[in-house]
């Protein structure tokens, strides 16, 4: 597959400065850490030059709108209809409909490939804010749209985007006592959904390798009496390998940030400890040695530490240790049980599931245990995963079952402030999301 190539469009014609009388209302910047903000109103014009141009604009609108930081102005209200991809728009026309930014673009042919140019115009100051050009295979048009949305997001928020990513999850179907659970992968916006396990046995807890080439997960065997184990599967070829044939069950796998190791739990004789396996050589090394349950290990973003949950102190709590084992210290001290810790890719927060009384919550705390804050709660919410910019999380939510009907299980995203939450659409019930890093370009 030919990956998108990008180049910057210099804003030659853009310096139509004369930014007189700047209206104070909308700005083309947003600080998402402020206690309150209005979404940035943005107008995305259908890209010119090819039928796929309207589809690209739709994907960009959808991405930005779904971030909660932008409000996509409906194209039906646009005043200027003859906007050109390479010359400045008539700024007064866009100010009049309240737009802080206008996105225009053009699709061209380039020897069997498509070439997509786009510009983001800052309506408030009347000049170009961003401009990029991409060449890629026509089949990659959705990725190009996500990359454009990422560029706009970065220009306006100052944070890296997260739209050119995928989400792996567990697709669930069937009645509660005979549930089919299989590993699915889709684009972050729900497109291109596909299954990588066949559903004959239960498969759960998928996690991406840093290159997105492999997924590790736990699956049961065909024989009900054999313990579930961790598998490593190549996403494109579908080839899967058992990661070690241990006497006990192995589960809760996760890659190290450099992709060379997988940490996991192995349970035997009523004890569950954390192990590290070298992906290439398959050498196994034990990292914890307790008679308790040590599970859900996750590396820090720099690979130097591991956070996990353990009930060694009586109830499930979060602990941090050195990546090679040792130096274990507890970091969670609030009321309730803490589980599924996941270190932010930026290193500044650890997300977790918290169980207190009859309620579940998704929260974040600093790696030293301070600054705990809850972002979502419900009858059952579980399994946070970070978008690569460390500013948005996904998790799953299960409704109570009643009268033999299994409660709906759905994926959701929430930003780090907890202000903006939305359901991520999936074709079936869905649990255990794993957000990928940005797809390598």
């Amino acid at each position: 597959m030919m990956l998108p190539r990008r180049s910057t469009i210099l804003g030659g014609a853009a310096l139509a400065a004369g930014a007189a009388a700047v209206p104070a209302r909308a700005q083309l910047t947003i600080d998402m850490t402020r206690p309150s903000f209005e979404p940035v109103p943005i107008a995305i014009v259908d890209f010119a030059g090819d039928r796929v141009g309207a589809d690209i604009a739709n994907v960009v609108r959808n991405d930005l709108q779904n971030s909660g930081l932008f409000r996509s102005i409906p194209p039906s209200s646009f005043i200027q209809r003859d906007v050109n991809a390479s010359t400045p728009p008539r700024f007064p026309d866009w100010r009049q409909i309240g737009a802080a930014g206008v996105v225009v673009g053009e699709v061209g042919q380039a020897g069997g490939n498509i070439k997509v140019d786009f510009r983001l115009w800052d309506v408030v100051v009347g000049q170009q804010a961003a401009g990029l050009s991409f060449t890629s295979q026509p089949a990659n048009w959705r990725r190009l749209a996500h990359i454009i949305a990422d560029a706009i997001y970065k220009r306006v928020t100052g944070e890296e985007g997260y739209f050119d990513t995928r989400i792996a999850y567990v697709g669930e179907s069937g009645p509660g006592n005979a549930r089919v659970k299989r590993i699915a992968i889709m684009d972050q916006d729900g497109a291109n959904n596909r299954y990588i396990t066949d559903g004959r046995t239960i498969a759960v807890t998928p996690r991406f390798s840093p290159t997105l080439q492999e997924i590790v997960y736990m699956a049961f065997g065909e024989d009900r009496s054999s313990p579930p184990r961790v598998y490593l599967q190549n996403v494109d070829s579908g080839r899967r390998e058992l990661m070690g044939n241990f006497p006990g069950m192995s589960f809760a796998p996760r890659f190290s940030p450099d992709g060379t190791k997988v940490v996991m739990s192995i349970a035997a004789e009523g004890r569950t400890n954390i192990y590290e396996m070298d992906v290439r050589g398959r050498a196994l090394r034990r990292l914890t040695n307790s008679s308790a349950i040590d599970t859900s290990p996750c590396f820090s973003n720099d690979g130097a530490q591991i956070v996990f949950n353990s009930d060694r102190g009586g109830t499930q709590q979060l602990y941090v240790m050195s990546a090679g084992g040792g130096g274990e210290r507890r970091i969670s001290f609030g009321e309730g049980r803490y589980a599924t810790p996941v270190w932010s890719p930026r290193g500044d927060w650890i997300a977790f599931t918290k169980i207190s009384g009859s309620s579940f919550g998704i929260g974040v705390m600093r790696p030293d245990g301070g600054g705990e804050r809850m972002l979502a709660s419900g009858f059952l919410v579980e399994g946070p995963t970070w978008a690569p910019n460390g500013r948005v999380l996904a998790y799953f939510r299960q409704q109570p079952s009643s009268a033999g009907r299994t409660g709906a299980v759905t994926l959701h995203q929430v930003d780090i402030t907890g202000r903006f939450e939305r359901q991520i659409p999936t074709p079936t019930d869905a649990s255990d999301p794993a957000w990928s890093p940005l797809i390598p370009q």
Partner: protein, 153 residues
Amino acid sequence: MMKTFKALAAIAAMIVMAACSSQQEAAGPATTTVTPGSIADFRQNVGDRVFFDTDQSTIREDGRQTLARQAEWLKKYGQYKITVEGHCDERGTREYNFALGERRANAARQYLIAQGIPAARINTVSFGKENPDPPGSDEAAWARNRRAVTALQ
């Protein structure tokens, strides 16, 4: 004549089973017409599962009685291999519950070993919260889901 007798016997068996099914938990061993030594016999007359308190893996008094009956029966019928399945209710996280289910299965296995069942005859597997029986989101369902089930092959 023979046909009538068989039909009557079947009806009688159904009545006995209906009578004991509502009482099975408390009454313990009950008499039915299932073949002695069959898996159905084990499930109905011995009890194939024990239950646990929330986030616990200690075998309760009612569970000790069930496991003692299981051990007696398993000694008598030595042809079966045994898998103890550990399960949890839905009020825990998925990964932790795999470990908790393993701990429960192991607790039941250790009890059976202490009662004289050879360790090599029993393996364990945990289903965590993936296999509720019955599915449900109330205390009654959760209490039945926190279980270790002795499955025979």
